[in-house]
Structures are given as C-alpha cells and as structure tokens.
C-alpha cells in the first residue's frame, strides 16, 4: 500500500543517509530523530486526540531522569535504565492524566503547564541528586548497550533511527486502529462519541499515557545517546518545542512531527549562528502558524494533494 511505502521509505532514506551525510549533519539528524520521536508522542495527544498539553517536558524529563538517575545512582545497565525511564514516563503521565483530564480546554493547558513547572522546580530543588540546571554527564562507559558503545556517532545514529522508526511505525499503526479512530472522533466531537457508547475518559487517559511514554522513551533515548541530563529539558521551553514542531509539520499527520522537527531544528541552528536570541524565530513561527497555517506543512499536503494521508 502506498501509505506503508511512504513511511517505510522515510526510514530507508534515513538509513541510507547514515552512509552519505557529512559528520555535522549526521550528528544533527541523530538528534532530530530522537526529538522527532518526542514530537510523535506529543502528536498522539494533541494532533489526534485534540488535547493541547503545555507540560510534556514533564514526561520527556521523566524518561531522561528515570534513565539517568538509574545509571548514576542505582548503577543500572543501559537497557534496564531505559526501561526505568519508560516506566517513569508511564507513571507520571498516568498520574497527571487522572488529575488533568478532569478539566478541558484552557484549564487543561494551564494544569499541564503548572504541573510541569512544579516538576522542573522540584528537579532544581533536589539539586544534590539531580545537579539541577547544570546537569550531569552520563559516562561513556555506562552507555555501552550490550557491548555497543552508544557514544560512537555511527552507533548513535543507528540507535536513534531504531527509536524513531519504532515510534513512527507505532504511531502509524495506532492511528488506524479502531482505538485511534475513536481518538480522532473525540477530537472532532467528544459528546457525540460518548453518546455512541464509548468511554471517552478511558480513551483520553490511554492516549495521554501512550503519549507520555513515547515522550519518555525519547527523553531516555536522548540521555543515553548524547550522554547528558539537565533540568533545562524539563523547562517550559521543552514543552513548547513539541507543540511548535507538530504545528509546523502538521498536527494529526504521522509524518508531520518529523517534518516539523527537522525544519525547526535547522531554522534555529541557522539563526543561532546570527544571534543569541534565536528563540525569536520560534516566537515568530508560532504566531505565523496560528494565524495563517494551523494545519501545518503535511496538513497542507493532505488538504491539497493526498486526501488519505494518515
């Protein structure tokens, strides 16, 4: 089917680029792939279920610190540490969901924002363990997964590709299941979905946990691959980023998160060469998107070229 060809094709393309890209872009793309996985997680909740969270950094950081602290303080090997990061993400997102899903709309946005901020501040408060804003380096030796040194750029890229590929195909599968279709319907008209006999609260809860766990996977992956954990990843900025990436790439499309992350990454990369105020670009793009193109790049593609694009 064309759809699977397109998405698998992207993964194949990224694999090919492993051999073709110069070192600078090779490293960038590894980073982009991990961050795009974060965006994919965000998109499940925002693009497909229609819930705008301003606190996803909490889940990303849960994965990052679950993994990082697991290695640093519990002496875990990379694989169990990664799993710990996933579990942390699932627990935190489930807990927040039980609270935040009692609200909707603007209140939901603010509640998620507030709890994420509290999380960030707590990381700072317990700086003795977490090293706060300064963060801590995860030693190269601790990042050898089954004998493979993850700090090596080649291994790192391929690991990032595996993480991204898994998240991409997972989200493609998910949104086409009956469960995924109900999420879309909830986004469109929640009351109607209720009156068709679906437990919308349970669906939203599941969506939030899935979204948070994928975000945590990205966080844990980021720490493992780039060897650093810092409280900045829990700050508001890292909650705004996935929103920005998904909006730009196309909310509610499977490829959108990757497109948006790639685009924004290079946009910021280029502008930080010009000024320290590179977040200005983020601000301008956000305003421009909400005003002129709320459906994003892949959203436009879906509207004009390929109606059935998932």
């Amino acid at each position: 089917m064309r759809v699977y060809a397109l998405h698998a094709g992207l993964i194949v393309l990224l694999f090919a680029l492993h051999f073709l890209l110069p070192a600078y872009h090779h490293g960038n793309l590894a980073r982009v792939m991990v961050l795009a996985s974060y965006a994919i997680g965000y998109n499940i909740l925002f693009g497909y279920t229609g819930l705008l969270s301003l606190g996803h950094a909490l889940f990303f950081a849960a994965g990052l610190y679950g993994m990082g602290l697991g290695i640093q303080h519990l002496g875990l090997a990379p694989a169990p540490a990664f799993l710990l990061g996933l579990v942390a993400g699932a627990v935190v997102s489930g807990g927040l969901a039980l609270l935040a899903l009692r609200t909707s709309g603007v209140a939901f946005m603010i509640v998620t924002l507030m709890f994420a901020q509290a999380g960030y501040l707590t990381l700072l408060y317990f700086g003795t363990y977490t090293r706060g804003d300064e963060g801590f380096v995860i030693a190269q030796a601790s990042r050898a997964l089954w004998g493979i040194d993850l700090s090596d750029p080649g291994n790192r890229y391929l690991a990032a590709l595996i993480l991204f590929g898994t998240c991409l195909l997972l989200s493609l599968w998910l949104v086409r299941t009956p469960f995924g279709r109900v999420l879309v319907a909830i986004r469109e008209n929640e009351e109607r979905v209720r009156m068709l006999g679906y437990d919308t609260f349970a669906h939203k809860l599941a969506a939030m946990v899935i979204s948070g766990t994928i975000a945590a996977a990205a966080g844990a992956g980021y720490g493992l691959l780039f060897g650093y954990a810092g409280a900045t990843f829990a700050s508001v900025q890292y909650s705004i980023f996935p929103l920005l990436w998904v909006l730009l790439g196309g909310a509610g499309t499977v490829l959108g998160p990757f497109v948006g992350t790639l685009f924004m990454f290079y946009l910021i990369d280029l502008s930080s060469g010009i000024t320290t105020a590179y977040m200005l670009i983020a601000g301008v793009v956000l305003v421009a998107l909400t005003l002129f193109a709320p459906q994003g790049l892949m959203g436009e593609v879906r509207r004009r070229l390929w109606k059935g694009l998932p």
Partner: protein, 240 residues
C-alpha cells in the same frame, strides 16, 4: 417493559423541568413523546439516555436499574440516541461517521458491511465518501439515523428527526421508521403531528414537565386537555 421510569424528576434553580414522571415503554412499540415547547421532553429523554443527571427517580432499562450508569454504559447496553441539533462528525466522511457507530460492536470486515447496510437503508450510500459537513441538512439528519441503525439498538431514541426535512424526505422517513420498528423499539420526540399520528402506536403527552395524557393516537386526538394544552393545534394538524 423495555424501558421504565419511576418518579423521574429534574429540578433546575427556580424551575421544575420534569416532574415525577412514571413512564413505561414495552418492547416493539413506536412511542411518540409530544408536548408544547418547554414541556420537558428533551430533558426527560436526556435523563433516560444519561446525558442529564436526574434530581430524583429511577430509570430501568431491560430489567436493569441504570440510574447510576453513565451515558456511554447505557448506550452500550442497547440504547441509541440521535441528536436534536445534528451532531455528526463534520470533518469526517459519511462512511467513517457510521463506522464509528458500528465499531463499538463489530470488528474488521463486518464493520464495512454494517456501514454499507445502514447507509443503504437511509439512502445515503452514494454519498459515503463525502465529508459529513458538506451534506445538506436533511441528509445530515438521515446520517444521524444511519448512525443509530448501525448500533443495532434495542431502543432507538429519535429527537425531532423530521425537523427541517422536506415533504418527500418525511415520507421516506416514515417508511424507514416502520421498517426499523420491526427490529428496535422506537421513542420519538416530534412536533410534526401528522408524522406522530401516522407512525405512533401510543403517544405520551408532556406538559409543564408532567405526563398530561397517554394513549393511542385516536384517544389523544379526542383528549380535551391535550387540545387545550396545544390551543387547538392537535386537531388542526390532524385534520389537514
């Protein structure tokens, strides 16, 4: 009895919208619920379906007390509800709208067949691929009914289904309802008296939140109190 209510009431601040209604609906019947505007029909049906929480009273469906159950659980037990103000998924296709209704009970290829069957019965099959929001108003109402049908409900609640339909569409609607009544019990809120008189087996009349009268169309037609409540509207509409 498929559906019963006992002492069902709804009190808003300063207004008793539904006043201690005892209601029985046997299986297989087409029951019409009529009354002047503000009589409490939609509120009563809201409490039956679970959209509105009652202030007092009980709802019994298929022998089970469902008063404490949330709406989605009651729907899952076999009720289906079509909205008074059409509430379809405007940006999804007609087929997907019905598919969502069907998927709660069916899986895989069975969904597609059920969707086709439901759309065919209401006459919307040629428009299956269209965006639901692009449909004409009358067709959106038919889509609502198709969504109800796809659930194969024990009880189908239709809230003012003919509102805004043209004459020909109303005729087609009546034929459809008679057909569906062979599989489902129908509770119909309606203002169009001709439709009510021609379709209903029994009629319940609400006024100021309480049951004013209940009986066959002929009995209701002759009921002086009902006529008074409608200020002569019933007899006029029935006559021509």
């Amino acid at each position: 009895m498929l559906l019963s209510t006992r002492g069902l009431s709804k009190q808003f601040v300063g207004l008793r919208a539904v006043d201690s209604v005892d209601f029985d609906l046997p299986e297989g019947e087409i029951r019409a619920l009529i009354g002047p505007n503000g009589a409490g029909k939609t509120t009563l049906v809201g409490m039956i379906s679970g959209r509105i929480a009652p202030s007092a009273g009980r709802v019994i469906f298929d022998g089970r007390d469902v008063t404490a159950l949330p709406a989605h659980r009651r729907i899952a037990l076999g009720m289906a509800y079509t909205f008074q103000i059409t509430s379809v998924f405007a940006r999804l296709s007609v087929a997907e709208n019905v598919a969502l209704a069907a998927r709660r009970r069916l899986k895989g290829s069975a969904v597609g067949s059920a969707v086709e069957a439901a759309l065919d019965r209401v006459g919307l099959l040629p428009r299956a691929g269209q965006e639901a929001g692009d449909l004409a108003y009358g067709h959106q109402r038919l889509l609502e009914i198709a969504m109800g049908l796809a659930q194969r409900p024990r009880l189908l609640i239709l809230d003012e289904p003919t509102q805004g339909l043209a004459e020909g569409e109303i005729e087609a609607f009546k034929t459809l309802v008679r057909e569906v009544a062979q599989e489902s019990t129908i509770l119909l809120i309606e203002h169009n008296m001709r439709v009510v008189m021609e379709l209903a087996n029994r009629i319940t009349v609400l006024n100021f939140g309480a049951v004013l009268a209940e009986g066959t169309p002929a009995e209701i037609h002759l009921n002086a109190e009902v006529q008074a409540a409608y200020l002569g509207g019933v007899s006029d509409a029935a006559a021509g």
